[in-house]
């Protein structure tokens, strides 16, 4: 059973990484326009604004 001592924290760590990514995506405003984002993948890049 001692394998659990590694496996469970490892599983939790993976979960935490997911949570970190979620928080990052939230803070960077990726949930602000869900409909637009879904459609933007269909738009070609060349006409996008050049920064």
């Amino acid at each position: 059973m001692s394998v659990l001592l590694y496996m469970i924290p490892l599983a939790l760590l993976m979960g935490l990484i997911w949570l970190g990514v979620f928080i990052w995506s939230l803070k960077s405003g990726q949930y602000d326009d869900l409909e637009g984002a879904a459609n933007r993948i269909l738009i070609d890049d060349e006409n996008q604004p050049k920064n």
Binding site: M1, L4, L5, I8, A11, L12, G15, L16, W18, L19, F22, I23, L26, Y31, D32, D33, L34, E35, G36, N39, R40, L42, I43, D44, N47, Q48, P49, K50, N51
Partner: protein
């Protein structure tokens, strides 16, 4: 053009502007708009939020370039207005982020705790070993405690707010259940006991947050749509200062400023005329459908519309005080009365909370009396609290509401407050305004006069913005004579045609003074020199479906009352046309307000539908209120429900949906109570393990959600 007034300055000479864009209907518009604007010189960023239809622009250069962007959008076929995020909206987007974060964290936590819990449920201590069990419990606690502390805050805050006001709401038993489940589980863990309820606590938070988030999304969407409508009116005025003209925002107008007012413009603040003669459309304020004439020194009220000639006016009161101070005061008073409404969920909580707490206490005492050690008795009592936690209730209401609000919004009805549908379902009286509510609020020509005459009349009318002229040109689509027309303010239009003088205007000026009067109609007279004057009659047509809708509403058992500020004859004609038995005419805003208060004092629950400034206090004071989107901004701002389109049918539809969704909510409450009837005795008897609690919680939630989705079939 005044978009530059809304531009904010960023670092490095950057200018920022948010535009609310109308006409974005398909994803292709994203590219069209963004690349169209990005191609303009100086633009560094143009990004369209497809969900909110707002365009964020960043550029370097002059602030006045803003107008170029708007023109560019217009040339592409979109209508854009500068948008200023309101305070409420900024709070909304903060709130959305917070709820999403809580949802993410509790989702993570429930997933991971479930992994451990399944192991605990499916095996026993002999199989997994004491150490492993303790280890699983410890990890569960490490996940659950921070989650409860962080993601439980939406409930704790609301419960605390209610308690500190001496009230109780659904969040009180929820918070108590969560906290007790966590606290008790911690205690049990340190004691080395067999069962902990960390999974229940975290799942409860996760499920309830889903409900909370859905609830929030539906209303935030509706509020945003409504504030878009309102921002369309956030206008500007042209002032004359030291011989130069300049545009400023209406809210910056101060007493004594001189404003230049074009034809068709809304009067921005209470003022008086210093130069010019014109007709004023006062219908937004008084409901009176006939324009009245003003000349030098004449008083003007904000919200009315200048119709026939440019005016120079002096502001009498700053715009902030101007929107008829007494109207505002009445509205404030009325709104305070509104705060006493208790939502159905909270009314349920008032009954529910004591019952649940008494049951839990009785369980505890009962087990102590039969000789159980206090820890065991407390554990069973906490199980009772967890199992009765109104997870189903917490979801039932938001899901029904989200479906109802979402469906209505697709059909052009925006519900602005959470309890509006609840209040709407309980009304017994409908109070209606006439002009702009039952009617379209714009005159249209009755009958078709001789074609040669209408051609001349339309050729004159095309030169004026007077609503009757506009109505005339809207009907006539043929060729026009090329005339040199002069406008005589307060009288009408004049031109020379084939060597004869032709006039189009009021009865006194160029009509037949002795002709019979049709009281409910407005009229224009065409006078061709040496010929009989010809009459054009106009009426403000009723919304085409108004009669049917009112008949159906009456069939639903509602009392209909027409309350208008217009002349008696006009109101009477409308009431008869729509077969409304009860009507009152010539009401001032204060009369309407006291009429409504009288109704409420008699115990009636009133829906007010109105669109004007004179309706605003009544809208604020009624049990629930609706306004057409063509209404004045103050009315739309005040109303709980804003509907679009030229029909009256949205009122009926919204009422029916409100009644139906209310029925679903009640069914859901019954389902939740039934579930408790089965679950509580089991919990009190001590048969409920964490596994049973988890299953009961999930299944009851699924049942009420499934029931709520029946709304989709209905609308």
């Amino acid at each position: 053009m005044t978009a530059s007034l809304f531009v904010t300055n960023g670092p490095d000479d950057q200018r920022r502007l948010t535009l609310s864009v109308e006409g974005v209907h398909c994803p292709a518009c994203i590219q069209k708009i963004e690349s169209g604007l990005a191609g303009l010189p100086g633009v560094t960023e143009a990004r369209l939020n497809y969900t909110t239809k707002r365009l964020a622009l960043i550029w370097k250069g002059e602030a006045s370039t803003a107008d170029v962007f708007i023109q560019k959008l217009e040339s592409m076929g979109y209508k854009a207005r500068p948008f200023e995020p309101t305070h409420a909206e900024a709070t909304d987007s903060e709130q959305a982020k917070f709820l999403r974060l809580c949802l993410g964290i509790s989702g993570f936590a429930s997933g991971n705790i479930m992994l451990l819990s399944f192991a605990l449920w499916l095996t026993d201590t002999q199989q997994m070993g004491l150490i492993t069990r303790e280890f699983f419990h410890l990890i569960s606690a490490l996940i659950a405690v921070p989650t409860v502390a962080f993601a439980g805050r939406p409930f704790f805050r609301s419960a605390f707010a209610a308690l500190s006001k001496g009230r109780t709401n659904m969040d009180v038993p929820i918070s108590l259940g969560i906290l007790l489940a966590t606290g008790m589980s911690l205690f049990e863990m340190f004691r080395g006991a067999e069962h902990v309820f960390f999974d229940s606590a975290v799942m409860l938070i996760f499920f309830l947050l889903i409900g909370r988030y859905l609830d929030f999304l539906a209303l935030a969407n509706a509020r945003r749509a409504a504030s878009d409508l309102i921002s369309m009116m956030a206008g500007s005025a042209t002032i004359l200062e030291d011989g130069k003209t300049r545009s400023i925002l209406i809210r910056d107008l101060r007493e004594g400023m001189t404003v230049l007012l074009g034809t068709g413009e809304r009067i921005p603040a209470d003022a008086y005329v210093i130069e010019g003669v014109s007709d004023i459309d006062t219908s937004p304020v008084t409901g009176e459908s006939m324009p009245c004439k003003v000349s030098e020194g004449g008083a003007l009220y904000s919200g009315t519309i200048n119709m026939s000639a440019p005016l120079k006016i002096k502001v009498a009161r700053a715009a902030e005080d101007s929107l008829l101070a007494d109207v505002i005061r009445m509205m404030e008073k009325a709104t305070q009365g509104q705060a006493s409404y208790v939502r159905i969920a909270d009314r349920a909580a008032r009954l529910y909370t004591p019952v649940v707490h008494v049951l839990a206490a009785a369980t505890f005492l009962g087990w102590i009396l039969v000789g159980m050690p206090w820890q065991g008795a407390l554990m069973i009592a906490v199980t009772v609290l967890i199992i009765t936690c109104p997870c189903a209730l917490g979801l039932a209401l938001p899901v029904v509401q989200m479906l109802a609000v979402g469906r209505l919004m697709k059909r052009g009805v925006m519900i602005k407050s959470g309890d509006a549908l609840e209040r709407l379902a309980r009304i017994d009286t409908v109070m209606l305004d006439k002009t702009g509510t039952l009617t379209l609020g714009q005159p249209s020509l009755v009958g078709m006069p001789e074609s040669t005459k209408i051609k001349i009349a339309a050729s004159l009318a095309i030169h004026s913005k007077h609503p009757l002229s506009v109505a005339l040109t809207r009907v006539y689509t043929g060729d026009l004579h090329d005339l040199r027309v002069t406008e005589v303010p307060g009288c009408g239009l004049e031109a020379m045609f084939n060597g004869k003088r032709v006039r189009l205007g009021s009865r006194d000026w160029c009509g037949d003074r002795h002709a019979s009067h049709n009281v409910s109609a407005l009229e224009l007279w065409l006078n061709i020199e040496g010929d009989e004057p010809a009459r054009f009659s106009f009426t403000d047509p009723l919304r085409t479906d108004a009669k049917n809708v009112i008949a159906v509403l009456r069939a639903r058992g509602l009392k209909i009352l027409l309350a208008s500020g217009d002349r008696k004859e006009a109101v009477k004609a409308t009431a008869e046309a729509l077969s409304i038995p009860e009507w009152q005419a010539g009401l001032k805003p204060a009369d309407k307000f006291s009429l409504m208060q009288e109704l409420r004092a008699k115990g009636h629950r009133v829906l007010m539908v109105g669109d004007g400034l004179n309706d605003a206090p009544v809208l604020a004071g009624a049990n629930v209120s609706a306004s057409p989107s063509s209404g004045l901004d103050i009315a739309r701002n005040t109303a709980d429900i804003v509907y679009t389109g030229a029909l009256f049918e949205p009122i009926l539809r919204t009422y029916d949906i409100a009644v139906y969704s209310q029925r679903l909510v009640v069914q859901n409450f019954v389902l939740a109570i039934l579930y408790n009837v089965f679950a509580v005795p089991l919990a009190m008897a001590g048969y409920v393990t964490p596994l049973v609690a988890a299953i009961a919680m999930s299944s009851s939630s699924i049942i009420v959600i499934a029931n709520a989705f029946r709304l989709r079939a209905k609308i």
